[in-house]
């Protein structure tokens, strides 16, 4: 303590009263600060929304949507970006709201109809933005303190969030342009950081938040990111997102009577594990990239799905429905589009990192396709159906 009395102390009200807009004297509340943080928050939300939209359409494809199978790490990249931009948006949103916090106490509460709409849209924006970030972070850690089905509602509220952001930017565009056109300046406030100082603090905090989590998808940050969702180990050095025990398939998967059944237009075909092992094998380095954002590369060996399609009298490029021994969950089945069945790296994998596939990784065989969400890399495959 430097011992000097602070002159502002005398300016504080003697008796407590609710704060007013003019009580907030910090430099952080200036429009040069608000507009700059707002710009980066807008960029973070846009990246998060677009990558989320891609992930949504890969899992719920429509006729006009196309997702390439190359580069093999494309989904790993977009979904990693989804989570990183979402994490970055947390400190940015908090800093942005702190920057405009005094306006909450502006009087009168409502000046006019446009003013009422503006305030309402900001409430909607803040509610939907917090909703997306809170539910998103809980989902990263597979922690669900709510009864609703996360993917559906996270997707729906994302539209509300970007919509209200667009309306908000439209309303504020003149102020944003003024704010961005002025220099923030280094002059410290009476009780606060300078404008430039607050901005730097925001960027630094955002950087630390990203560093602390990005190891989920960025390999060289794995040991630095203390809040990342994957450890260095798992069975066969690969994290498991649903274990064989949870899926309740151990008996069926280890039954010697297990056969892979492929329903093709020209009839039903059965393959034993020995049959599959006898077919030409392909070995490839492919990532598992989960919708929750974590991803990890591994070396997979197995039969190219294109070869299987040829073996049953069909051709690569035909869509293929894949069914697991696990039934009645989101992991139960998936459909490989033609783009992926014709890619020679789309495998029915039998081996992982040089060993027979672990039960937790889908023994006796699983799908591993390039550039697809982990939830669609169906494990414990028992049946396939060639779709015409």
């Amino acid at each position: 303590m430097d011992g000097r009395r602070h002159p502002i102390r005398s300016r504080l009200p003697r008796s407590p009263r609710p704060p007013e807009e003019k009580d907030f004297t910090a430099e952080a509340h200036d429009r040069t600060v608000t507009s700059r943080i707002g710009l980066w928050l807008g960029i973070a939300f846009t990246v998060c929304f677009v990558t989320g939209l891609l992930s949504h359409f890969i899992q719920h494809p429509t006729s006009w949507f196309f997702w390439p199978s190359r580069p093999v790490s494309l989904y790993r990249f977009t979904q990693g970006l989804h989570v990183i931009s979402g994490i970055a948006a947390i400190p940015l949103l908090l800093a942005k709201l702190w920057s405009v916090f005094p306006k909450l106490f502006g009087k009168p509460l409502v000046r006019s109809l446009p003013h009422a709409i503006e305030r309402g849209s900001i409430l909607l924006l803040s509610a939907s933005a917090f909703f997306e970030l809170i539910t998103g972070v809980f989902n990263i850690f597979q922690n669900y303190p709510w009864p609703f089905y996360f993917p559906t509602i996270h997707y729906a509220i994302a539209w509300v969030a970007v919509g209200s952001i667009a309306v908000h930017v439209a309303v504020k565009l003149p102020v944003i342009r003024l704010g961005l056109g002025e220099e923030p300046g280094f002059k410290p406030g009476r009780d606060s950081l300078s404008r430039r100082g607050f901005l730097r603090a925001t960027w630094l905090t955002t950087g630390v938040a990203v560093l602390a989590t990005a190891g989920s998808s960025v390999p060289f940050l794995r040991t630095v990111s203390v809040l990342a969702t994957q450890n260095t180990d798992g069975e066969q050095s690969l994290p498991v997102n649903r274990s064989a025990a949870h899926a309740g398939i151990i008996a069926k998967a280890t039954d010697p009577a297990w056969r892979l059944e492929i329903a093709a237009p020209h009839g039903l075909h059965r393959f034993s594990l020995a049959d599959l092992r006898a077919m030409p094998q392909t070995t490839a380095e492919l990532p598992i990239a989960c919708v929750e954002g974590w991803s990890r590369s591994a070396t997979w060996t197995g039969v190219p799905v294109a070869d299987l399609l040829r073996a049953v009298g069909s051709g690569p490029g035909t869509a293929l429905r894949v069914e697991s021994l696990e039934r009645g969950s989101i992991y139960g089945s998936s459909t490989l589009p033609g783009e992926h069945t014709q890619d020679p790296l789309t495998l029915l994998a039998l081996r992982l990192n040089g060993e027979v596939l672990d039960l937790d990784h889908g023994f006796p065989c699983r799908i591993i396709a390039p550039s697809r969400p982990g939830v669609l890399q169906t494990k414990w495959v028992v049946r396939m159906e060639v779709l015409s």
Binding site: I90, W98, F130, N143, T152, I157, P188, L204, L227, P239
Partner: protein
Amino acid sequence: MRTTRIVLALAGLAALGYGISLVVPFAIGSPESARSTVEFLVGGPVVHDGIVAPVVGVVGLLIARKLPRHWRTPVRLGAAISAVLGLIAVPALWRGYAGLHNPGLDDRNYPLGLLLALLVVWLVVVAAALARRRTDQPPPTAVGRQNR
């Protein structure tokens, strides 16, 4: 700029409307989910505006009034970083509603990791404050305002 604003507003309203049209059938289908969704929607602004932001304000004021000058900026940064790391760590530390355990995925030692990260942050804070004290030259504003 007028055209940009109109296009942006209309696109925004369309996206907003589409989002609401997705929420409504979901909400009608399950009243329990609807109630919980509304709680989480309202909860964000209420907790932020009612608790988080006021706490930030009071802590900021305390830092400005109670700490020696060279400590203020490092402590502000340390507090902001600690708070954000703490917030992100909530679902990792509080596993009340966590799904089934997945080997290799969620078995990192989060309490230890967070503790180490905070330790590093606050070591840097202390180092920065001490470095600032060593190179301390009285800032013109503080002296001018208080003693002249």
